[in-house]
Symmetry: C2
C-alpha cells in the first residue's frame, strides 16, 4: 500500500494549490496528488483555445508534472474509485490503495447533461469539460465547421461564442438574458448590444428541445420549443456544470443541496481528517448564507489555502464566511465584473436594498486617448449602508476594480466608510479623484441618509 501524509484527489487549480501550499507550510510531510488524467487545462482559458488568441489547445495546459516536481510533490495518474474513512485509505482503479493522514477531495465539476434536449449526445454536439483529450478532439472536429450554435448564456457559453465569432465562424447563441445570475437586466442589455454588434445572432428566451440530425446522424441544427430550427454544422452545449461527487457520495460522505459535499468554514467534511474544496464542496453565499452553485477556480483556490492552513490545527479562526460570487469577463472590447448579490436577486430574497449607478470616463481629463466609459452599480443594505453587491463595466482595469469591490464587500464596508476611502488616481490609469465612481456611487447612497 502506498502511503502519504497529505493525499489530494484531483488535478485542477485547487488540487495544485493545495499541494504547493502543503509543501510550503509542512515541509516535512509527504504530499501526493492522485490525478485521473495525465494533463490538466487552465479551466477558464478553455474558451480561448477556440479563438484567435491561443494557437492551440497545448497553450492552455497546466504543467502539473513540472509543478509537482518543483514542489517536491508526488503526482500519480490514478482514478480514485473508493474511500475507506475508517482505514484512512483510498482505492485506486489500478488496484493499488493509498493511505493518508489527511485527505483533501478536490474532484471539481463536470458538464451537466441536459437530458431534456433530444439527441444531446449525437456526433457534432459538444460539451465543455475540463478534459484535455476531449477538448483536443472537439477543437479538431470544429475547426472546419462554419456555422455553430452555442446553447447557454453563462460565462462559458458567451465566451466561446465570442471566440468562434472572432475566428470567422457564424455563431448563434441561445439562452435567456446574458449572465443573468451575475448581472442585472440593464447590464445584460448592454452585453446583448455588444454581442449583436459583433454579428452573433442571439435567440433570447428560446428553449432548445432537440438537436436536429442529418442523414448521417450528425448534428445539423437546433430546434426550439416553438418549432423554429436553426441550421448549423455543430452545437456546443454550455448548459452548466454539476459537482463531480460520485466518489464522495458512494464512499458515504455527508452531502448537501445540489449534490455538493458538506463542509464547515474550515473546509472539513463530516469525516475526521477529510477536507473537500472547490466545485465539489458546498458553497454558501456570503450575503444570503444560502447554498449556491458558484463554481470558480478563484474561490476553489481560496478554499484550498484555507483548508491547508487548518489541516493539522485550526490556524485561521476567522476563516471562510462564504463565497461572494465574484466574476469578471470580456465581451467584445468591453470588460464586466460582478461581486456579491445582484439587485434582482436581492429583491427576490426580500433584502431591503438601495442602489445607484455612476458612469464616468476611465481616464482624466476625458480628452486623453483610449478613454473608455466606466460604469459602477452599487447595491447596499438600505438600513445599514453595508455594500452587498457591485457590478462594473469598462476597460481592462475592470478586472482589478471588481477585486477591489470584492475586498470592500468581504470587509463589510458601508457606503459611509467609502466616503473617506483613499484611492490613487492618475490621468492615464483611472477616472478623476472628483468622479472616482465607487466613491461617488457610495456618496449618492449616503446622501439618502446624511444631511437634508
Amino acid at each position: 500500500m502506498h502511503h502519504s501524509d497529505i493525499l489530494i484527489i484531483g488535478g485542477g487549480p485547487a488540487a495544485m494549490v493545495t499541494a504547493g501550499t502543503a509543501r510550503q507550510y509542512y515541509p516535512n510531510k509527504s504530499v501526493t496528488v492522485l490525478k485521473k488524467g495525465k494533463d490538466s487545462m487552465v479551466p477558464c482559458g478553455i474558451p480561448y483555445v477556440f479563438g484567435p488568441l491561443l494557437e492551440s489547445v497545448e497553450d492552455d495546459m497546466i504543467p502539473c508534472g513540472d509543478m509537482a516536481a518543483k514542489m517536491g510533490t508526488e503526482l500519480i495518474v490514478e482514478e480514485a474509485v473508493g474511500i475507506d474513512f475508517e482505514k484512512k485509505r483510498v482505492a485506486g482503479k489500478s488496484g493499488e490503495s493509498y493511505g493518508y493522514e489527511k485527505l483533501i477531495i478536490a474532484t471539481g465539476s463536470v458538464p451537466k447533461i441536459p437530458r431534456q434536449i433530444a439527441n444531446h449526445d449525437a456526433p457534432g454536439v459538444f460539451f465543455v469539460p475540463k478534459d484535455p483529450d476531449y477538448i483536443r478532439k472537439m477543437h479538431a472536429e470544429m475547426a472546419g465547421m462554419k456555422k455553430i450554435v452555442v446553447v447557454g448564456t453563462g460565462f462559458i457559453g458567451i465566451e466561446i461564442a465570442n471566440e468562434f465569432q472572432d475566428s470567422g465562424k457564424e455563431v448563434t447563441l441561445v439562452g435567456s438574458r446574458l449572465l443573468k445570475h451575475s448581472f442585472d437586466p440593464e447590464v445584460s442589455s448592454y452585453m446583448e448590444k455588444i454581442v449583436e454588434n459583433k454579428g452573433i445572432v442571439h435567440y433570447k428566451n428560446q428553449r432548445t428541445c432537440e438537436i436536429v440530425l442529418d442523414e448521417r446522424g450528425h448534428a445539423c441544427g437546433v430546434k426550439f420549443e416553438d418549432g423554429e430550427v436553426v441550421a448549423c454544422d455543430g452545437v456546443v452545449l454550455a448548459t452548466g456544470y454539476r459537482p463531480n461527487t460520485d466518489l464522495a457520495r458512494k464512499s458515504g460522505l455527508s452531502m448537501r443541496q445540489g449534490d455538493t459535499i458538506y463542509v464547515d468554514e474550515y473546509m472539513r467534511t463530516t469525516q475526521p481528517d477529510v477536507f473537500a474544496i472547490g466545485d465539489c464542496a458546498e458553497k454558501r453565499h456570503f450575503i444570503t448564507k444560502r447554498t449556491i452553485p458558484v463554481m470558480l477556480a478563484s474561490t476553489a483556490t481560496a478554499e484550498a489555502r484555507i483548508a491547508v492552513a487548518n489541516l493539522y490545527s485550526i490556524n485561521l479562526v476567522k476563516s471562510f464566511s462564504g463565497t461572494i460570487a465574484i466574476f469578471s469577463t470580456v465581451i467584445g472590447d468591453t470588460c464586466f465584473g460582478s461581486a456579491g448579490i445582484t439587485e434582482e436577486d436581492a429583491r427576490k430574497q426580500r433584502i431591503d436594498i438601495t442602489t445607484t449607478v455612476v458612469t464616468v470616463p476611465d481616464k482624466h481629463p476625458a480628452k486623453l486617448p483610449n478613454s473608455h466609459e466606466q460604469a459602477v452599480k452599487l447595491i447596499a443594505s438600505r438600513a445599514t449602508g453595508q455594500l452587498i453587491g457591485a457590478q462594473v463595466v469598462g476597460g481592462i482595469d475592470i478586472g482589478e476594480m471588481i477585486n477591489m469591490l470584492g475586498t470592500i464587500i468581504e470587509n463589510r464596508m458601508t457606503v459611509f466608510d467609502l466616503l473617506g476611502l483613499q484611492v490613487a488616481t492618475h490621468p492615464l490609469l483611472t477616472s478623476a479623484p472628483t468622479t472616482y465612481p465607487i466613491i461617488v456611487a457610495a456618496q449618492n447612497i449616503a446622501a439618502r441618509t446624511l444631511g437634508a
Copy 2:
C-alpha cells in the same frame, strides 16, 4: 456684505467636491466658492499637456463655472486676503467681504522655490504651478525648445520628462533615485532602466546649484555642485510643493509642522465652524501617525467628503485615520503603484517588518497576447501580519490593483485574512487564480508563521 451658509476658499478638486457634496447633503443651504483665478486645471493632468497625448492646455481644464452652475453653487472670482473668525467673515481683495456659517479652506499648494539654486527665477526657468495662465505661457515658450533639463525626480518631474521626451525633445533628468518616497530602491532601479531606454539622460545624485545664463540672461544650462554643466534651452524645476497657507497663518489659524493647517480627524481647524482640507491641511500617516507632506487630489477629495459629512454635526464617527499615501503613475509603458509605507521608510522608523515580492504574468495562460509581467511587493508587520505597505509594477490594471491594496491596508487586513480573499480571475484580465500575486505574496509571509 455677501453672505452664504457654506463658504469655500479655493478652486481645485477638493473645493469643487466640497461644493458638490454640500449641495447634495444640504440642498437648503447656500454654497459659495471664492476662487482666485477664473479657470482651474486638472492638477495631475498638467504633465500631459506637454506631451503628445493632449492637444492643448485647454484639454486639461476643470470647467468650474459649468460645474458650479450645474450644482447650484455660486462661484466668485475673488482672492481671499483675510479671515475674521470672530465676525465669521472673509475679506476679499476687491474690498467685498463674505460672511459664512461654515467655512472650508482649500487653498492647495504652490511650487516650493529652491532658493539654493542660483538664478532659479531667470527667464527660461519654469515651475509647475496649477495656474492655467502660467502653464499656457510656459507651454508656448517651451514649444520651440529642443533640449530640456528637468530638476526633480518626484511624480511631476518624471512625468513631465517622459512627456517632453515623447514629443521629440532631448531630456535630461536630475535628482536622486526615482520616486524615492513612494518606492523602494529595487523599484526605482527598474524605473531608471525604462527612463534610460527611452533615451532620457538621468543624472542621479547630482545636486543642481545654478542655472547658467546666456548673454541675454536666459537659461542655457544647469550647473551641478561638482562643476559639470548640462547645456539646454530651458529648465523645469519640479522640486516639490509647499502648502498655500499664507492666508490661514496671517489670519491666526493654528499651524502644524510643514506649515500646514492643524486639523482633527473630522477636518476641523482650531476655530469653530472652520474646516481645512487638501494640500493646505495637515496630513498624518495612517501607519506611522506622523505628519507627512503627502499632496494628492485623491486624498484631498476624500477629506472634502469627510468635512462636508461632518459640517453641521459629526455623522461619520469613524472618520479619517490618516493618509495611506497612495499613488500611481506610468513610465514608458509600465505602470507603478504604491500605498502605505515603503520598506526603506519602515526600517528607518524601526517598524519590525517582513516583506516579499511575487512576479507573475498578468494574463493566464501566459501564452495570451499582450501579457505583461506583474510584480507585487508586500510589507507587513512581522508580529501581527498586518499589511502596512504595497508596491506594484505592471500593465494598466495596476491603477486599480493599487486601489485594492489601499483598501486592504485601510481595513487593517493581515496576510492571514488575505489567504482566503476571493478575487475574480479571468484569462484576459488577471493572473491565474493559482498565482494571483497579492494572495501568493500574503501566503509567502504567512508561511513564516503557519505550519513548519
